[in-house]
C-alpha cells in the first residue's frame, strides 16, 4: 500500500548504485521454473564446451592469462552457436501469441511438438508444401488456416487470402495448383451477406489461379468462441518438372531475388485495424503467384528454391535459407524494394519491413550465372515487374544472414522474436 513498499530497511542513498544487487534474500526460489531449467541447460553447455578443446585456446596449462577481448568474444559466439543448434525445446507452460508469429517460437513449437510427433521424410524438410510420389507422378500437398483480422481490408478479404495463400504454397514448391478444399469455422451471429462476399472473393481468386474448390466443410461455433469467420484451405498440385527445389539447395555464388516491394500486406492489415490512427495509401499485395513461378522456372534451369514471404517476412525466409543450406546470406538494404508508404509507416511504428508479411511476393534463390535471365523472366510478369536482386549466398559465416545497411554498416538479421502484428493472415 505504501509507495515503494515495505522495502525500506535499506538506506536509500544515491551512493549505493549497484550494491543492492548483492541482496540475495530472495533468489532462484522466486524464479519461475523455466529460469532454473534454462540455467541448467546453460551449465550443461558450459560443461560440453569445457570438454571440447577450444581452437582459440593457445595457452599452456597452468598459465591462466586473461584472453584478449576479441578471442573471448569469439568463444562466447561459438557457445551461442552451440546453444542455437541444440534440440529445440518449448519452455513455456502455455501457448502464447509468439508461437503463432512465424519467428523463433513458431519454429521451436513446430520442431519440438509437431515434427517430433509426426516425424517422417516427407514432413522433415518443413517446406511450404510436401512433395508426394503417386504412381510415378509428383504431387504437392499443402494446407493453411486463415484468421486475419479484420476480415475485410484494402486490396482484399479473408477469402482471396485463403485461396491465394494456398495456391502460392503450391506454386513456390514448383507445382501447378489444381484443387483446393475449403473449411469454414463461423461464429454464431455472423452476417450471411459478409459470408457471401468472402465466398465470392474465393470464387474469383480460384478462377484467376485456375483452381477449383472441390470439397469443403462447415462448422458453426457459439458466439464469442471465434472471431467472425476462420477459413482453412488445403491444396494439391502436380509437379511437372524433374528439378529438386528447396532452401537447402542454396549454395555459395547464388543470388537472392524478391519479386516485388515487400511488406504491403502486413502494413495494410495493421493500419486497417484502425488502432494506430495512421493513414497511408497502401493495399494488400494478395495475389496468386503460379504464373510468375511458371515463367521463372521455364526461363531459369538454375532455380534452387522459392518461398512466399508470408508471416515473418523476407527476413525469416533468408534465415531459413542460411540455416537449412548451411550458408551465409548477404543482402544489401539499399537493394530491397520497399514502397515509401510502407517504409514510412514501418519507420513510425518501429517495425522492420524485412519482417512484415507479404501475400503475393516470393523470394527465389537462383544460380548466380542465371541471375539476369531469372530477373528478366520475373519482370516480364505483371506481379514481378519490380523484381530485384537483393543479395548473394556466401559460404562463411554459415547459418547467418548479414545485412549491409544503407548507412554503410554491417549487421546480422535474425529470426523475429515476439509478435508485432498478430493475426496477419
Amino acid at each position: 500500500m505504501t509507495p515503494a513498499g515495505q522495502i525500506g530497511q535499506r538506506t536509500a542513498s544515491g551512493e549505493d548504485g549497484g550494491e543492492a544487487g548483492q541482496d540475495r534474500r530472495a533468489s532462484e526460489d522466486h524464479s519461475a521454473g523455466w529460469v532454473a531449467e534454462a540455467l541448467r541447460a546453460h551449465d550443461e553447455l558450459t560443461a560440453q564446451a569445457a570438454a571440447v578443446p577450444n581452437p582459440h585456446d593457445g595457452r599452456t596449462k597452468g598459465s591462466p592469462q586473461p584472453l584478449p577481448g576479441t578471442v573471448r568474444e569469439e568463444q562466447v559466439l561459438e557457445r551461442i552457436d552451440r546453444a542455437r543448434r541444440s534440440r529445440p525445446r518449448v519452455k513455456e507452460q502455455r501457448i502464447t501469441m509468439s508461437h503463432g508469429a512465424g519467428g523463433k517460437a513458431t519454429r521451436t513449437l513446430v520442431e519440438a511438438v509437431f515434427l517430433d510427433a509426426f516425424r517422417n521424410p516427407l514432413l522433415e524438410p518443413l517446406e511450404d508444401a510436401a512433395q508426394l510420389h503417386v504412381n510415378g507422378s509428383r504431387m504437392a500437398l499443402t494446407t493453411d488456416s486463415y484468421v486475419v483480422s479484420p476480415l475485410f481490408f484494402p486490396g482484399g478479404n479473408i477469402g482471396d487470402l485463403a485461396v491465394n495463400g494456398t495456391v502460392n504454397d503450391l506454386a513456390v514448391a514448383g507445382a501447378v495448383p489444381l484443387y483446393l478444399t475449403a473449411g469454414f469455422i463461423i461464429e454464431e451471429g455472423f452476417p450471411v451477406d459478409d459470408l457471401r462476399r468472402i465466398v465470392a472473393a474465393m470464387r474469383d481468386a480460384a478462377t484467376a489461379a485456375g483452381v477449383q474448390v472441390v470439397t469443403g466443410d462447415t462448422k458453426v461455433v457459439e458466439k464469442g468462441k471465434a472471431d467472425g469467420c476462420y477459413i482453412n484451405t488445403a491444396g494439391v498440385g502436380v509437379i511437372e518438372h524433374r528439378r529438386t527445389l528447396g532452401v537447402a539447395q542454396a549454395r555459395p555464388g547464388d543470388v537472392v531475388i524478391v519479386s516485388g516491394p515487400i511488406g504491403d500486406h502486413g502494413i495494410t492489415i495493421m493500419l486497417a485495424r484502425g488502432e494506430l490512427e495512421i493513414e497511408a495509401d497502401v493495399t494488400s499485395d494478395t495475389a496468386p503467384l503460379h504464373g510468375l513461378v511458371a515463367g521463372l522456372l521455364a526461363a531459369t534451369p538454375g532455380v534452387r528454391a522459392m518461398r512466399d514471404a508470408t508471416r515473418g517476412g523476407v527476413a525469416t525466409i533468408l534465415n531459413e535459407v542460411a540455416t537449412d543450406a548451411g550458408v551465409c546470406v548477404v543482402v544489401r538494404e539499399d537493394d530491397i524494394p520497399v514502397r515509401p508508404e510502407v517504409r514510412g509507416a514501418a519507420e513510425l511504428l518501429g517495425i522492420d519491413p524485412m519482417y512484415v508479411a507479404c501475400e503475393g511476393r516470393l523470394v527465389a534463390v537462383v544460380d548466380g550465372a542465371q541471375a539476369d535471365s531469372a530477373l528478366a523472366a520475373m519482370r516480364a510478369h505483371p506481379l514481378g515487374a519490380s523484381a530485384a536482386v537483393i543479395g548473394q549466398i556466401a559460404d562463411d559465416p554459415a547459418g547467418i544472414v548479414l545485412l549491409k545497411t544503407a548507412f554503410g554498416g554491417t549487421r546480422i538479421v535474425d529470426l523475429l522474436v515476439g509478435d508485432p502484428l498478430p493475426r496477419i493472415c
Partner: protein, 375 residues
C-alpha cells in the same frame, strides 16, 4: 524517404568517420556512454561501430525504460492484473519483461486480462468502454513518456472517470547518470545525452556532469549520422580540453526543454524518496509517483500491492551491463540461458536493451564482419 535518408547518408558518415579518426590521440582509448537505449538500438541496427576507430569504444547505458524495471515491480503489476475486476494495460515492450512468476505474456496466456496499448489514452478508451471494470495503466519510462501519462491523468480527472488508474513506474534519468558517475568501477570519457528525454527536460540538467565531474556531454539525436556527429563533438571537446554540455539534436531539443510537458508532470507527479532500479539498486529521488491530489488514480493506493523486493536470478548480470561495466556478451548467461525468446534479464527484452540489440543485430565479431565486408 524525407527526414530519414539524409541522416543515413554513407558519404557523410565516411567523412565524419575520418574526422573522428583524425582526432584520436595515439595510444589513448576513448570510452563514451550512450545513455539512451534508443541510441544503442540505432548503433547496432545500422552497424555504426564499423565507422569507429578501434580506440573509440561505446558503452551502453541505463536509458532503456523496461530494462530498469525491477522484478518486484513486475510482480506487483502481475498481482494487480490478477484481480478479476482489473484490465491491465501496458506498452508492448513491457509484455515480455520477466517477473519472478513469468511475464505479462505468460499471464495473458493463462487468462489474465492484459492488453497492449500504443498510448495511455488508449487505456482511457478501454476504461470508458468497460465501466464495470477497473482499468490500470502500467506506466513506464523516463521523462519521455511521463508527460503522456500526466496528460492522461489530467484527462481522466477532467472527465471524472472513476475506473481508471495508473501504476506509476516513471523514472528520471539524471540520478541514474549520477549513480554511474559515482560508481567506482567505470571510467568514462564522456556521454551521449539522451535525445528524447531532453526534448522534455532540456539540456540544463546535465550541466553538473561537465561542471562537477569534468566530463563532456553531447545531447544526441537517433539517426546514425546524429550519433556519429555527436561522437565527433565529444572528441572535439576532449581535443580542445573543454568540458561542456552541447546539443547536437537542435532540430528537436530546446535548451530549456518543453515547459508545457514539465508543467503537466509537475502538476500530477512528485519525486519518490527512493526507487529500486534493476541492477542499479535503490537510487534516491529517482522516480515519480502521483501527487496526493490525484490519489484516486494511483493504483498503488487503490489496490493491495505486495511491494516485496525480489532479487534477480544470481546468474543475471543486467546491473553490470546497465552500468556499462560489462559488454552484453561478457555476461555469463548471454545467448545461452538468456535469449530474446526466453529472457532472464531485462536487457534481453526490449529492442532498446543492450543485450537484445547485440544479440539480434551484432552477434558477430567485428573481425568476421570486416572479412565478410571485404569479400
Amino acid at each position: 524517404m524525407k527526414f530519414v535518408d539524409e541522416y543515413r547518408n554513407a558519404d557523410q558518415a565516411h567523412a565524419l568517420s575520418a574526422k573522428i579518426a583524425a582526432l584520436c590521440e595515439p595510444g589513448r582509448h576513448y570510452k563514451f556512454m550512450e545513455v539512451c537505449g534508443g541510441h544503442t538500438h540505432t548503433i547496432y541496427k545500422h552497424g555504426l561501430e564499423d565507422y569507429l576507430p578501434e580506440s573509440v569504444e561505446l558503452v551502453h547505458g541505463p536509458g532503456c525504460p523496461v530494462c530498469v524495471i525491477p522484478m518486484g515491480r513486475v510482480d506487483d503489476a502481475m498481482h494487480l492484473a490478477a484481480n478479476p475486476d482489473v484490465i491491465m494495460t501496458s506498452f508492448g515492450d513491457m509484455m515480455r519483461v520477466p517477473g519472478s512468476q513469468g511475464s505479462f505474456f505468460d499471464a495473458k496466456a493463462a487468462g489474465t486480462d492484459i492488453r497492449m496499448v500504443y498510448s495511455p489514452l488508449d487505456s482511457l478508451k478501454i476504461a470508458r468502454k468497460n465501466p464495470g471494470k477497473r482499468v490500470v495503466f502500467m506506466a513506464i519510462g523516463f521523462e519521455t513518456t511521463a508527460p503522456s501519462t500526466a496528460m492522461t491523468v489530467l484527462r481522466a480527472a477532467a472527465e471524472g472517470l472513476e475506473n481508471f488508474s495508473v501504476f506509476c513506474n516513471h523514472v528520471t534519468i539524471v540520478p541514474a547518470i549520477k549513480a554511474i558517475l559515482d560508481s567506482p568501477d567505470l571510467r568514462l570519457d564522456g556521454f551521449l545525452g539522451p535525445g528524447h528525454v531532453s526534448t522534455v527536460i532540456g539540456c540544463r540538467p546535465y550541466e553538473f556532469i561537465a561542471r562537477d565531474y569534468g566530463k563532456p556531454v553531447v545531447v544526441a539525436g537517433f539517426e546514425p549520422l546524429d550519433i556519429l556527429q555527436s561522437i565527433y563533438m565529444l572528441m572535439l571537446q576532449l581535443a580542445e580540453g573543454r568540458t561542456a554540455v552541447e546539443n547536437q539534436y537542435t532540430r528537436v531539443v530546446p535548451w530549456d526543454g518543453n515547459i508545457v510537458a514539465l508543467k503537466a508532470i509537475g502538476q500530477t507527479m512528485e519525486l519518490r524518496p527512493y526507487f529500486e532500479w534493476r541492477g542499479l539498486g535503490f537510487i534516491s529521488h529517482s522516480a515519480l509517483r502521483l501527487r496526493a491530489e490525484y490519489a484516486r488514480f494511483d493504483a498503488e493506493l487503490l489496490f493491495d500491492v505486495p511491494g516485496v523486493r525480489v532479487a534477480d536470478p544470481k546468474a543475471c548480470q543486467c546491473g553490470e551491463v546497465l552500468k556499462g561495466v560489462l559488454k552484453p556478451w561478457e555476461c555469463k548467461v548471454f545467448g545461452t540461458a538468456c535469449t530474446p525468446e526466453t529472457p532472464i534479464g531485462t536487457c534481453m527484452v526490449s529492442p532498446e536493451g543492450a543485450c537484445a540489440a547485440y544479440y539480434n543485430f551484432g552477434r558477430l565479431s567485428r573481425q568476421r564482419v570486416k572479412e565478410v565486408s571485404r569479400s
